[in-house]
């Protein structure tokens, strides 16, 4: 008795078939969740993240201690 024999008798052939709807289901869940209205402000802010770099404290050159906002 080898692993192959065990696995052959488990009827695993059904798995891919079960998994397809399962995956569609999860995916639809994600889409529904992302579309929730309550997330609008959070997502709006998150969308702008690439344009932030953090607050600039100094330019990092010895003489020039500039301060100001680093945000674009």
């Amino acid at each position: 008795m080898r692993l192959t024999d065990v696995m052959s008798n488990l009827g695993l052939g059904i798995y891919p078939i079960l998994a397809l709807p399962l995956f569609i289901g999860v995916f639809v869940g994600v889409v529904m969740r992302v579309s929730k209205r309550s997330r609008r402000s959070e997502l709006h802010r998150a969308g702008g993240l690439p344009l932030e770099e953090g607050e600039l404290v100094s330019r990092g050159t010895a003489c020039e201690q500039a301060s100001g906002s680093g945000r674009a």
Binding site: L12, P16, P21, V30, P50, G54, E55, S67
Partner: protein
């Protein structure tokens, strides 16, 4: 906010108030200051351009190799217009430079050296900024950089030497594979996920998700596809054989395109396009859907599993549906990228960066439309093995990966070298040269590929093949191949302009780079004040029921998902689960259910000499031009003989089905030609087939067989379960191999060929070729040598 600027550290409450603008949910800690590590980005960016030059140059060389043998002798009216290419003939008969050895170098350099370093540059630049944190460890960053370059150099040395595992895009030998796993997962992965852990921005921007999925999935693909048993320091045999090896390999190949060339570049797009356009991505919501749909669907859309597992028709249809569904997120994602430029289209006219991005995204949409189309069975029947695939991948690699990388580099150059770009005009020139170059590359190759496919299946009125001579179909490609070289040259020239621009910008850099200091509050452990506290609605129930009810409320409120998104470890686990589950469910049936690969009683293991010949075949990369898989299509069985059965490959480690036919299929080569024909053909294919573009292999007639290697090879196969009961006994396999070699060498002499070949590699290779595809017509041995019972033979 100004209040906090001079204080590196302030109390949590203050910081929280100051940080109100960040809108992050959850408490924040004291202010912290930090610097970004841009030195590492400069390094990765520099080598990206360097390896781009190498990858494209090697591409040009292999493109030339396909035309030189024929072009130099091409005559019109007694005149040879392409005689000037004659000095390049050495490319076709120098053993280190033959097509079979150099093409893997080209693909590996383009994918892992050029695209790889480009995504590392993108990831190191954007991750730090999106996390408002320096990379977790500078040491690991540098170890990653130098480790990866070492891998590339080792690849560039080993592939021309013929050291290969013989699996496409996974050619590198096992010690290099180990190094890749170590550098990718151990060094890069650790550094990346630890950076996410110490980040100062609660929300993980979608680009970070794309990067995380890339790191995890590529690690998984690489490890499982590379599982092999070493026979020596440079040689190993996969633990999978035949159909299973093919399944694993194309599971790897298909998803490597998804997770090495797509997801990280999408992360790049979602970060650098908004940067270049100066406005946020058009729809952030759509980008999240884009992410999850790629993770969930891509693995499934691999069409290969549909061909070899016994899926019922409706499941097969569902699978097709997945492929078609992939169109939506890909196009949604592409449009999302393009619409990021809303209101900024006027900038396009004089901004080469935006031009590169827009055309790059357009190529993404084109390729993701074409990909699922190519997976439709009827289209695939025509396109598979032809150059259509080559055109498709170049639209993707040159158009999508190349242009996104170039756009990013031009955007980074002034910022990283802290001086204006040397020449915007040259960047414009680069854009136009590259665009023209791509078009001159892909359009002729599309034509060529389709022509090839149509010629292979063309029949005349009498029902015989219209082009029975394979070489004729190759000849028809020559003009297309010629134009391709011109297109490739333009693209290469464009890249030289980029390199020049980079060097000149670098020369203007300041003596010392500024290192700006930033500040942001530290994040405290996530505890969302807005998180609902659930109470059971079942006061009369038993304890377990109450707990269950709370759990149900938790799950249905989907609050957990927000917490998951905010935690790198959990996000990583979730995407890993999605990808791993899909893969497991897809692969397990082929692996562990016997009926999927019916054994054929008459198919026996290779003899020791044939095994040695197979090693030569792998080492020379013959699979780059020759397939060994005849599909059940009339035009193919007519041309090559009976179609290939899964059971014929059970001793093939690795499988050598190939993916492209520049030469005829060899699955039924055994017995087709005489031994002496093969000798002459390998010495110089033009001796037997005047118009052949196959490289010459005179060295095979000189290089000696290393008998101990054959011994080790047999032993390793035996350890992997190949039934070699007696061959593994001390020295017996050498003896068997020498006897067989002597017989072939004698036959060659008898036919008037050269003497003294009995210990030369060519004899081993011929032994292998003469065996190919012959077992199926032999009677089954009286007592099956295999210990495993025979399930069934193909009807």
């Amino acid at each position: 906010m100004a209040a906090n600027e001079e204080h590196a550290v302030s109390v949590g409450a203050e910081a929280k108030a100051a940080n109100a603008g960040h809108g992050a949910d959850g408490p924040v800690g004291p202010m912290e200051t930090f610097k970004y590590d841009d030195a590492i980005v400069r390094k990765f960016m520099g080598v990206t351009v360097l390896w781009a030059l190498v990858a494209f140059l090697v591409g040009l060389i292999v493109a030339l190799e396909l035309i030189v043998p024929v072009a130099t002798t091409y005559e019109v009216a007694g005149f040879r217009p392409f005689a000037f290419l004659a000095p390049l003939s050495f490319l076709v008969d120098t053993k280190w430079l033959t097509f079979g050895r150099l093409r893997p170098l080209h693909t590996n350099a383009a994918i892992f050296a050029f695209a790889g370093n480009a995504i590392f540059a993108a990831i190191y630049y954007s991750t730090q900024r999106l996390c408002k944190a320096r990379m977790w460890s500078d040491k690991l960053s540098n170890l990653h950089f130098w480790g990866w370059q070492l891998i590339i150099v080792l690849a560039a040395l080993s592939l021309p030497l013929g050291l290969t595992q013989g699996k496409e895009y996974a050619e590198l030998i096992w010690p290099i594979d180990l190094l890749i796993a170590l550098v990718w997962a151990g060094v890069f992965g650790t550094n990346y996920f630890m950076t996410l852990r110490v980040r100062r921005e609660r929300h993980m921007y979608v680009a970070l998700w794309f990067y995380a999925a890339t790191i995890i999935t590529v690690a998984m693909l690489h490890v499982f596809n590379s599982l092999a048993l070493p026979a020596s320091l440079t040689r190993s045999y996969p633990v999978y054989a035949g159909v299973q090896d093919a399944m694993i390999q194309w599971w790897y190949g298909h998803n490597a395109v998804a997770f090495f060339l797509t997801t990280p570049f999408l992360g790049l797009m979602y970060y650098f396009m908004p940067k270049a356009a100066g406005r946020p991505v058009y729809s952030y919501r759509l980008s999240i859907i884009h992410f999850w749909s790629l993770i969930f669907i891509y693995i499934w859309a691999g069409p290969h599993h549909l061909h070899y597992t016994a899926l019922p028709a409706w499941a097969s249809t569902l699978g097709m549906l997945f492929s078609v569904m992939l169109w939506m997120p890909s196009w949604g994602g592409g449009i999302n990228g393009l619409l990021t430029l809303r209101g900024a289209w006027h900038k396009l006219t004089d901004d080469p960066i935006l031009k590169f991005f827009v055309v790059g995204v357009t190529f993404y949409m084109m390729s993701t439309f074409e990909g699922p189309m190519l997976s439709i069975k009827s289209v695939n029947a025509l396109s598979h093995y032809t150059d259509w695939t080559i055109a498709h991948v170049h639209a993707g690699a040159l158009g999508w990966n190349g242009f996104l990388a170039f756009g990013m580099i031009y955007w980074l150059l002034p910022r990283l070298y802290q001086t204006p770009l040397f020449s915007k005009k040259l960047a414009e020139w680069h854009f136009w040269l590259a665009t023209l170059g791509i078009l001159l590359y892909i359009i002729p190759i599309y034509f060529g590929g389709i022509t090839q496919g149509l010629m292979w299946r063309a029949f005349d009125q009498t029902g015989t093949l219209q082009y029975p001579d394979f070489v004729e179909t190759v000849m028809r490609l020559m003009p297309f191949y010629g134009i391709r070289v011109i297109g490739g040259t333009l693209y290469f020239l464009g890249t030289i302009l980029l390199a020049y621009n980079l060097v000149r910008t670098w020369m203007k850099r300041p003596k010392v780079y500024d290192e700006p200091v930033y500040s942001a509050p530290r994040l405290l452990p996530f505890a969302d004040p807005a998180a609902p506290a659930f109470k059971t609605r079942l006061p009369d129930n038993i304890g377990l029921g109450k707990k269950g009810d709370v759990l149900v409320q938790h799950i249905t409120s989907v609050w957990w998902h927000r917490a998951w998104e905010a935690r790198p470890a959990k996000l990583a686990i979730l995407s890993f689960l999605a990808v791993a589950t899909a893969s497991a469910l897809e692969l397990i049936p082929t692996f562990l259910i016997r009926s999927n690969v019916p054994t054929i009683a008459s198919v026996q293991p290779y003899t020791p000499l044939e095994l040695g010949g197979r090693d030569v075949y792998i080492s020379e990369g013959c699979y780059n031009c020759h397939s060994q898989m005849i599909r059940p299509i009339w035009a193919e069985t007519k041309r090559y003989g009976d179609y290939s059965k899964p059971g014929e490959f059970v001793y093939d480690r690795p499988f050598q089905w190939g993916s492209r036919r520049l030469g005829p299929d060899l699955a039924r080569e055994g017995g087709l030609r005489s031994n002496i024909w093969h000798v002459l053909h390998f010495e110089n294919p033009r001796q037997t087939s005047p118009q052949s573009i196959m490289p010459a292999y005179p060295h095979l007639l000189k290089d000696e067989i290393v008998w101990e290697e054959i011994d080790r090879s047999v032993l390793t196969h035996a350890m992997l379960g190949v039934p070699y009961p007696k061959e593994v006994r001390d020295g017996l396999s050498t003896q068997l191999a020498q006897t067989q070699a002597k017989a072939i060498a004698d036959d060659i002499v008898a036919a008037g060929g050269p003497a003294g070949l009995e210990n030369k590699q060519v004899v081993a290779l011929i032994a292998y070729l003469q065996r190919l595809g012959t077992d199926i017509n032999k009677p089954a041995p009286a007592a099956p040598a295999a210990a495993t019972p025979v399930a069934s033979t193909a009807p």
